[in-house]
């Protein structure tokens, strides 16, 4: 997870410490909570992790890549979409789940920061996409497939429009939750989730239903 490279089973020499990986990522999240993105330094992370600074640089190119991996682990652990029985309930569930992640101080300060950096760094943008964004989007695809199986949404006529619609819905859901949380700085509570979901489901059924 740390290095996106396949790392083709290096056969000789001392192996990298998996323990160190864990300690570094834990220390990164802790530092994000205490210091925030702006004041986080790699030297401090190394000290917290009980690891030499050089070890850190041997595994990650810099602050951006390290933080992406540290935050991505949280998305791995806390994103899932149990079948709640209806499109409405599924959307509310994913909204509240995503919002819960954004309430955490680590993700709050880190997510937008790395996205900002990624506007000038394509490799970083791809890393964010594969480590975080695609995992979120898969929930949208899953939710739609279920809704179509239930007959709540029509099946797409062609793959192109299917992809377009999925992208649109994903940007609307994730964008609204992020904007509400980080820009408006208001909580995504049950009431907001209900209102948002009503708006979105209304639009989906009115437009495609």
């Amino acid at each position: 997870m740390s290095s996106a490279a396949p790392t083709p089973a290096r056969r000789t020499g001392r192996p990298r410490s998996a323990e160190a990986d864990r300690a570094i990522l834990d220390a990164t999240r802790a530092a994000l909570v205490e210091l925030g993105w702006g004041k986080l330094t790699l030297g401090d992370v190394a000290t917290r992790a009980g690891v030499a600074k050089t070890t850190l640089y041997r595994r990650w190119a810099g602050k951006n890549e390290l933080v992406v991996d540290a935050v991505a682990a949280l998305f791995d652990e806390h994103l899932e979409l149990p079948d709640r029985g209806s499109l409405r309930a599924d959307i509310e569930g994913v909204v509240l789940q995503f919002a819960a992640l954004l309430e955490r101080p680590e993700t709050r300060t880190a997510l937008m920061a790395v996205v900002a950096e990624s506007t000038r760094d394509d490799a970083l943008r791809r890393r964010i996409r594969s480590a975080i964004v695609d995992r979120q989007k898969s929930l949208v695809l899953l939710g739609r497939a279920r809704a179509q199986a239930r007959g709540e949404l029509p099946h797409e006529p062609d793959p192109a429009s299917a992809a377009r619609n999925a992208d649109l819905i994903f940007d609307v859901i994730a964008g609204a939750v992020v904007h509400r949380t980080l820009v408006s700085a208001e909580p995504v509570d049950d009431e907001w989730a209900r209102g948002f979901t009503a708006l979105l489901v209304g639009g989906l059924t009115a437009t495609y239903g």
Copy 2:
């Protein structure tokens, strides 16, 4: 604009150079384009502006505040909402206008960066709100008022729900455009704007109409 403080008409002594203000903000935007948020330094901005670094620190507390003001000026210049005759057309207009701002490299790299910093700095968050966010939101309020006057949307029963709905719509519009542009890194073109607007208008009429 530079200092949000009222600055009660200082009457004596040498006045601050308005020319310097302009040069500094121009230099900031130019540096954002060339270097991006991460590599931008105040020393460099001062040199570009032909101004001493100390002058810069006399007016702005730091990088965050300076960049917010530099970007806010762009929003002042490029945000307006002419009456396009229908709710649908008004929304498409504001979406494309906001997207055009986010296409600019200055805003692309700066906006999310300062928002990320603002998660740990309330004063900065308030500055962003008054200098940028509230100006966007006023467009939403204007668009809704027009739609209500045209009979496209119902009048709100009470001020509380009116405010809630406006906040929701604002987060959906701004959030979706930002997410599409910066996270998905896909262009907000006419086609996307039409699809998004159809979804939103469908939701509004289905939910509140």
